[in-house]
């Protein structure tokens, strides 16, 4: 039999196997890092038509979340305010600011300001703001410290696994209902105190977060 392959090809199978292992490891770690909502959503920070600064209005002036997102305790949907809400102050303050031009135009015409949506649950997910807010889930749990954001950015992955983390262990994330919009609040007793109180709230408020498919995918 004549030689079909040169001598160096003897090492080739081993090299190919090693290469495949490295490739597999790279693909797995690449997918784990880059292809989950942790990477694809967190940090999303679109520029808005009006550079509304939450850190100034909420953090420094002390507006409550519900001053603008007024229906969050009653409605499944947390509303974005109409220009009228802005104009309740800005008819007096900074009336000729160029940055506020879209707000005044919206107020005059009735067409909404074209805000760019930051947090968006897929169509097949049913999420109700009111039930969460009324059972002590703070805004900060899902939206992060908006009171410190100059431009609103996506803070949490909002993946299904992330939702289930809380649905499986709600005691770690609920607080007295009157503190829901206090984004800086942490339990004074630390993690231990949070869980003790959390378990008490779960018991008293009969919190039973759905974990079945149809709880959220209706």
């Amino acid at each position: 039999m004549s030689k079909v392959f040169p001598k160096w090809s003897n090492a080739l199978p081993l090299k190919i196997i090693v290469f495949l292992f490295i490739l597999a490891a790279a693909v797995v770690s690449g997918v784990t890092y880059y292809a989950t909502p942790n990477y694809t959503r967190v940090g999303y920070m679109p520029s808005q038509p009006v550079p509304y600064d939450h850190s100034f209005h909420v953090g420094q002036l002390g507006l409550d979340c519900r001053y603008c997102h007024s229906k969050v305790e009653e409605s499944g949907h947390a509303n974005v305010p109409s220009a009228g809400t802005c104009m309740s102050c800005h008819s007096q303050i900074k009336t000729d600011s160029e940055l506020l031009e879209p707000v005044r135009a919206s107020y005059a015409s009735g067409d909404p300001v074209p805000w760019v949506r930051v947090h968006e649950a897929p169509d097949y997910v049913y999420f109700n703001h009111a039930v969460h807010v009324n059972r002590g889930v703070s805004c900060v749990e899902c939206h992060g410290k908006v009171n410190e954001m100059e431009v609103v950015a996506h803070d949490q992955p909002l993946s299904m696994g992330w939702c289930l983390d809380c649905h499986r262990n709600p005691e770690e994330h609920i607080r007295p209902v009157d503190l829901v919009t206090n984004l800086d609040w942490v339990h004074p007793g630390g993690k231990k105190g949070q869980i003790e109180d959390g378990l008490k709230f779960v018991e008293e408020w009969n919190i039973n977060p759905p974990q079945s498919c149809s709880g959220c995918h209706r």
Binding site: M1, V4, F5, T36, P157, S159, M160, G161, W162
Partner: protein, 470 residues
């Protein structure tokens, strides 16, 4: 037997002084005293000859057939699973029937390669390669149906327990998940077994190759095989281990497929006889398919010396045995239903035989129970045309068995107001018929490019390999 005691000399010992071995000749597994080189030339010649015209004709027809499956699946993905005839109450229809049908076909391959190897049934050598190829291609065809039944095929990886951002896992208590493991293990082990068996023969083709491209391609897949003693002894050990590993698979795969039905609570499905009865049925249909494929090949390539009447006898007898077992199971289902005195169970079986789908039930009985009984007769076993026709009936019958099981129970569920009649849509029919095209495409490619019999193993069972009659 000299002894000093005269009395003892009178006693005739109960042991014969010498033993004359009775001369019962075993049928030769390779007839006409063929030499080793004849075998090599014959098998390699099939891959080396110019592509015959009939091959092209069959290949083009098979491709056209396979395109039906492709079109059916494209339409399904573009439109949704509603294009199949599934609707309440029959949410399982042709898809599961076809899946079980194809998986069952594959079983003969594993049985021949694993169990017959361990039992040292030498007649397996001239059919095992093609049967294993058949197994793999059948698994490919089977896999299509559950994968596309999920609707959004690109999410089919959800079938496997892979950690994901949704923090959900498949239901480990579901037989459908066990199926995923059973079938993927089965596919993997079958491919390994097939490939390991191919290595020495690929090396033969490589060594006979006339041009560089063939030499390199077959050389790559022969993985440097030289046929040294050391390689052979490692190879034999590896082959034996694989045979041991896949032996449980022969039983486990179809057992788990039967669990899809048996662990539910529906009358007609919820029976303990399902696993053995499904395994017997699978081997039955698998051997049917082996004969359906091998008999034409034997005629086309003039392989009568390698696939002898003895081989056909062995396979038809297995079909007869497993067919009778299946028939016994059909009878036993009725007995258990009557003996168990459960109204719903009795209804389910009476409905099977005399209800809406009685036509399907009696097709099943005549093909599966009656047609193999002809194999009791030597005259029929020796008539290849008749054997071939009966094996076709066997496979028709086994398809109808799965259809009867899946559909009769579902269309007559617990609430009479929801009773219905299931019919497939044209898309169902085209997708299924197309899988025969796909199977044929794969099998024809196998015939063209790989040695269809295990040359090295056949040489071992020739009379020449055993010159001292051990």
């Amino acid at each position: 037997m000299g002894s000093s005691n005269p009395i003892l000399d009178e006693v005739k010992p109960a042991i014969l002084k010498e033993v004359d071995p009775v001369d019962i000749p075993r049928p030769a597994l390779v007839e006409n005293n063929r030499s080793f080189s004849w075998i090599t030339d014959k098998i390699c010649g099939i891959v080396e000859e110019k592509t015959p015209t009939w091959w092209w004709v069959c290949f083009i027809i098979a491709c056209a057939g396979a395109s039906f499956t492709v079109m059916g699946l494209v339409y399904l993905v573009a439109t949704g699973t509603g294009v199949w005839g599934l609707a309440n109450p029959a949410n399982w229809g042709w898809a599961i029937v076809n899946f079980v049908f194809w998986i069952g076909i594959g079983h003969a391959g594993t049985l021949i390669s694993a169990i017959l190897c361990l039992l040292r049934q030498k007649w397996r050598t001239s059919i095992n390669r093609a049967a294993e190829a058949m197994t793999i291609f059948a698994v490919v065809c089977a896999g299509i149906f559950p994968v596309f039944h999920v609707g959004r095929v690109w999410m089919a990886w959800f079938l496997f327990p892979i950690p994901n951002a949704n923090a959900i896992w498949p239901n480990f208590r579901s037989a459908l998940l066990w199926d995923v493991f059973a079938v993927s293990t089965y596919g993997t082990v079958s491919v390994l077994f097939w490939y390991v068996g191919l290595i020495p023969d690929l090396a033969s083709v490589r060594d006979r190759a006339k041009n560089k491209i063939r030499q390199v391609l077959y050389g790559i897949f022969a993985m440097g095989w030289r046929g040294s003693n050391r390689q052979w002894s490692n190879y034999e050990m590896c082959y034996l281990l694989l045979a041991g590993l896949s032996t449980p698979l022969v039983l486990s795969v179809h057992t788990i497929v039967s669990f899809d039905f048996a662990i539910s609570l529906l009358p007609g499905w919820h029976t303990t006889i399902f696993p053995p009865y499904f395994v017997a049925g699978a081997i039955f249909s698998g051997f049917g398919m082996v004969l359906t494929l091998m008999l034409p090949l034997r005629a086309i390539y003039r392989l009568e010396d390698l696939i002898t009447q003895y081989h056909i006898d062995c396979m038809t007898k297995i079909i007869l045995a497993t067919g009778t077992m299946v028939g016994y199971a059909y009878g036993m289902e009725f007995f258990i239903a009557a003996y168990g005195a459960n109204d719903f169970e009795i209804f389910a079986f009476v409905n099977r035989a005399f209800g809406n789908y009685a036509w399907a039930y009696w097709i099943m009985i005549s093909c599966n129970v009656i047609s193999p009984q002809f194999f009791w007769f030597k005259k029929i076993r020796e008539n290849t045309a008749l054997v071939w026709i009966i094996t076709i009936f066997v496979n028709i019958g086994m398809w109808f068995e799965r259809f009867v099981i899946a559909v009769t129970t579902l269309t007559r569920d617990f609430v009479p107001s929801s009773w219905g009649y299931y019919s497939p849509t044209i898309i169902d029919i085209f997708t299924y018929l197309g899988t025969f095209g796909l199977f044929s495409v794969l099998f024809l490619l196998f015939l063209r490019f790989l040695p269809l019999m295990a040359m090295a193993e056949i040489k071992v069972v020739t009379p020449q390999a055993d010159p001292h009659n051990h």
